[in-house]
């Protein structure tokens, strides 16, 4: 598969069409594997979608004691294999992006597999199909990137861990990698938030309704 996903947060209008459409995918009917968060609703209407970033060395697969999470030849990280999944939730806790969810009803980890049933047959994933603005796009690098004024970035640094992903974030032109502090590695190196903010109740509401890491 030459295509991949491009996540462009500045275009996100927070409509959650992607969250609704994800449920329509034939392989995981009714469960949505994508999240849309308010950044800080008290200050701005900005929102951002999170899909599985499909890491080149996926932490979820590395921590899986049963080797239940497989990566396809074209680099798509799959949901856990049902016969192998041990209910241990290591992957749910380990993923630096907070993507996999645990389904308590069928005892299985579930995550975005880039709608493999669709994308392996040349169809766009549901979220990228419906996204009104192109905040989530699916296509070939050379087809999408020249159209945009933003820069594709797929290197994320979480403290001591550097993660390279199949999925790109579209960011301002001066960005080479995304740094997130962990274990104090970057102490004093990143600009702290200007003021401490209290999360708006509407953020919390979304957290309850679609960010819980369980179904």
């Amino acid at each position: 598969m030459d295509e991949t996903m491009f996540i462009d947060p500045q275009r996100c209008i927070g409509c959650r069409a992607c969250v609704a459409a994800c449920r329509e995918c034939a392989t995981h009917k009714g469960y949505s594997m994508i999240f849309v968060d308010y950044i800080d609703r008290a200050e701005t209407t900005a929102t951002v979608p999170t899909v599985c970033m499909h890491c080149k060395e996926p932490t979820c697969a590395l921590v899986c004691p049963a080797d239940a999470i497989k990566v396809s030849d074209d680099g798509v990280v799959m949901s856990a294999l049902k016969p192998r999944c041990l209910d241990c939730r290591n992957c749910v806790n380990a993923c630096p992006f907070g993507v996999p969810k645990y389904n308590t009803e069928i005892h299985l980890q579930m995550k975005c597999d880039m709608c493999y049933d669709r994308s392996s047959e040349g169809l766009k994933p549901m979220c990228a199909s419906v996204c009104p603005t192109g905040a989530i796009s699916f296509g070939k690098y050379e087809q999408i990137v020249p159209l945009r004024r933003t820069k594709p970035v797929n290197v994320h640094v979480f403290g001591n861990q550097k993660v390279e992903t199949k999925v790109y974030l579209m960011l301002p032109a001066d960005t080479d990698e995304v740094k997130v502090d962990g274990c104090g590695v970057f102490e004093g190196m990143l600009t702290p938030a200007a003021t401490e903010t209290v999360e708006s109740w509407i953020d919390t509401q979304v957290e309850h309704s679609d960010k819980s890491n369980e179904f």
Binding site: I13, C15, A20, A26, K124, I202, V206, H208
Partner: protein
């Protein structure tokens, strides 16, 4: 008497209940019989979508990549739209209210009762004692039918439609300036514009898929100027946000025009050759310097200058607007003052140079073209014009003396109900107890009616008041055309049959007409027959559909009207060489700023403006039943700026009482820096105690008769409530009554 007596029982039986799966649950082992290409039932982008049908049930949705407007894109309402089709709340058989309780009735029984009541009222009080109130989420065939039914079936002058609450100021403004009422450019022009000036439209939330074109324009290096009192998701993404005080658009637009003139960014040769009345407008604009405009609208003078230069210097640019400027007692004037900018710079009638109203409802455009508007006949003809009357009467075979004169707007119709001039009402496709302003007065109007019959497919807050409820069809259960916001006529296709005893809306209306003895005017046996008559009835009018056929629509992914002959390709871009006034010229209007009817004072110090959220559609009768959508936004809230919140000592999430001169409601506070400190905002999709329309001002624009939803005076009081906002999962129902019952 049309009253609601046993609300609990009504809610128990007809909802809104939350439902969130296909009719038989989420299943991966389906055998899809048919894939039906159609369009979304909601807003006027009219996105293409494919409905998946299994055994006469709509069980899912699949992107329709080959429809050029949306290319597969949908908003969350569109994705979940199919969940309403087999919703357990669907009305499955006719209902007659006896002793305050809805009882199941047969079609014959219900229809005969409707007809006998209508006959009795008209015999006692005259033809005009019955009102017909229709809507613009119907197919164009049905909107044509409703206008004809009122005039030729009932012979009443009182017919109007819910576009009166929506885009009628734009329609009136367009007619005055251009002599025709339609967006001037196809959306494919948007990516060609260097600058977009978008006024009073949070299109990111209300017209999500339009953003496809906006971002294409952005990718081409385009810039956006957004005029809105709130920093909406649309405004956040813009380059220049003019955060004006609600209702001051005329001052702002005049200020922009002032700068354009000062900087000589006007197109004098265009003004001379293609417009009238420039001098008066120019003279007026000289009085609105950026400083003067700034004092009125609250936008810094420098920003007004920047915006005017950005728009004026751009080679190509488009102006678009929506409800934010239209829902005012100065709605038409607001529209005209923005059109002045377009005409003064001559930026119209060419690729990437143009103007458009972002018309709201699914068929908001088509619904105002073919004669369900109080003053209109098919083809945007006027009922007051003798030639127009004669033409339509000839098509209908109706003696001209029998064709009533113009009626009044819907808000005035509801006043006439309280005055007992209208004693019976037939409504379809609207929910008056959510969407009309000052609903406490609307309740009195309904309770004063002698007979109220409602055609609906879900029991709305308004239909609870009805004496007879007739179960109609959801959008997937009938076929016909709609006209999207750019003027493209598209075709809705049938995917399934109506459930239970529910029937197609046109069948119900035809049956009433037949039983009234007016069969000869309503001999239709299918929507196609209605469309064929509509083509002829609209022929030669502004909105000429004569050359449009269903086959042609399917073949070309929609046809833009006017389309006068069968070999005509349609008209995607208007005004390339002429405007539609008799002399072919457009008209300037010198507009003096006037404040909204009600401005803040000591007692009510804040400006209340109302609007929408992306998860709900209009009065919410469809979307407040879909679990996913309700979970995202379960209840209305009031947006308050942190400075105002600090002054009032209220906290984020706290419930407060918001009141105006007309009513009050309790809403959780959402403290956000994205609104002006002098303004508060409440979304409007809910009824009863959750309705912002308990507070809004029913004052009307003198021309368009649109109510002033977007500005009234209000205050906030702390009530020391300890109740927190409802969290998605804990939500049991969709309006206050359901929540209280737990």
């Amino acid at each position: 008497m049309s009253r609601v007596e046993h609300l609990d029982e009504i809610v128990e039986a007809y909802g809104p209940h939350l439902h969130d799966t296909p009719h038989d649950g989420w299943r991966a082992d389906r055998v899809i019989d048919r894939v039906v290409p159609t369009h979304c039932p909601y807003c006027a982008v009219q996105c293409g979508m494919n409905l998946l049908v299994e055994k006469d049930h709509v069980v899912g949705v699949e992107p329709r990549y080959d429809f050029p407007v949306n290319e597969g894109r949908l908003c969350p309402k569109g994705v979940t739209a199919y969940l309403q089709v087999h919703h357990p709340d669907r009305l499955l058989h006719p209902l007659i209210k006896r002793n305050g309780r809805f009882e199941r009735a047969s079609w014959d029984e219900a229809l005969d009762l409707v007809v006998s009541k209508f006959k009795q009222l008209q015999a006692n009080y005259g033809k005009d004692s019955i009102g017909v109130y229709s809507g613009s989420s119907l197919t164009t065939e049905k909107t044509y039918l409703m206008g004809k039914f009122a005039r030729a079936g009932l012979g009443t002058r009182y017919v109007d439609y819910n576009g009166r609450l929506c885009m009628v100021s734009a329609a009136a403004g367009n007619n005055k300036a251009f002599g025709i009422d339609r967006a001037a450019n196809p959306w494919s022009d948007i990516p060609l514009a260097d600058v977009l000036l978008i006024a009073g439209s949070n299109c990111a939330e209300t017209f999500p898929v339009l953003n496809k074109f906006l971002w294409q324009q952005r990718d081409n290096g385009g810039r956006w100027i957004i005029v809105d009192p709130r920093e909406t998701p649309t405004a956040r993404q813009g380059d220049l946000h003019l955060q004006l005080k609600p209702g001051t658009d005329v001052a702002l637009a005049n200020g922009l025009l002032h700068v354009l003139i000062e900087e000589n960014l006007i197109d004098q040769s265009f003004i001379d050759s293609r417009t009238n009345e420039w001098e008066a407008t120019r003279a007026l604009a000289t009085r609105y310097s950026p400083d003067v405009a700034s004092k009125i609208c609250g936008v810094p003078a420098q920003k007004i200058i920047d915006a005017a230069l950005l728009y004026g210097r751009a080679k190509t640019a488009m102006v678009m607007h929506a409800r934010g400027i239209e829902h005012h007692t100065n709605g038409v004037n607001n529209v005209l003052s923005y059109i002045n900018l377009v005409l003064a710079t001559g930026k119209i009638g060419a690729p990437g140079r143009g103007y458009g109203t972002i018309t709201g409802q699914g068929n908001g455009q088509g619904g105002r073209e073919h004669g369900q508007k109080a003053d209109q006949l098919p083809g945007q003809r006027l009922i007051s014009n003798p030639e127009h009357r004669k033409y339509v009467c000839d098509v209908w075979g109706l003696p001209e003396a029998e064709l009533p004169q113009a009626g009044v707007s819907v808000v005035e119709m509801f006043t006439k109900m309280r005055e007992q001039e209208i004693r019976g009402l037939l409504s379809i496709c609207n929910n008056v107890m959510v969407s009309l302003p000052d609903i406490n007065d609307i309740r009195r109007s309904l309770e004063g009616l002698e007979f109220y019959v409602c055609i609906d497919f879900f029991m709305s807050e308004g239909s609870r008041y009805a004496d007879v409820v007739l179960p109609g069809s959801a959008w997937s259960e009938d076929e016909g055309v709609t006209c999207n916001s750019e003027g493209r006529v598209v075709k809705i296709n049938k995917a399934n049959n109506p459930p239970g005893e529910a029937r197609a809306d046109w069948w119900i209306v035809r049956e009433i007409a037949r039983r009234l003895g007016r069969e000869k005017y309503f001999s239709f046996n299918s929507p196609r027959e209605i469309f064929e008559e509509l083509r002829i009835a609209s022929r030669g009018g502004n909105a000429d559909y004569y050359g449009i056929t269903w086959e042609k629509i399917e073949k070309n992914n929609g046809i833009f009207w006017p389309c006068p002959t069968e070999d005509h390709p349609g008209t995607p871009r208007l005004f390339e060489d002429r405007f539609y006034h008799p002399d072919g010229k457009a008209k300037f209007h010198a507009i003096e700023y006037q404040p909204p009817k009600e401005v803040p004072d000591e007692e009510f110090p804040l400006i209340l403006t109302s609007g929408r959220v992306v998860y709900q559609y209009l009065s919410g009768n469809q979307t407040r039943r879909i679990g996913f959508l309700v979970e995202q936004c379960p209840e209305p809230y009031v947006e308050v700026h942190p400075e105002t919140a600090a002054k009032l000592k209220i906290n984020d999430g706290e419930r407060v009482r918001v009141s105006s001169r007309r009513g009050e409601g309790v809403f959780p506070v959402l403290v956000v820096r994205t609104i002006r400190p002098d303004t508060i905002f409440i979304p409007y999709h809910w009824g009863e105690q959750l309705a912002v329309n308990q507070l809004t001002n029913p004052a009307l624009d003198p021309i368009s008769k649109i109510p002033e939803y977007k500005a009234c005076a209000a205050r906030i009081e702390k009530i020391h409530s300890r109740q927190l906002p409802i969290l998605g999962r804990q939500r049991k129902g969709a309006s206050a009554s359901e929540v209280q019952r737990g």
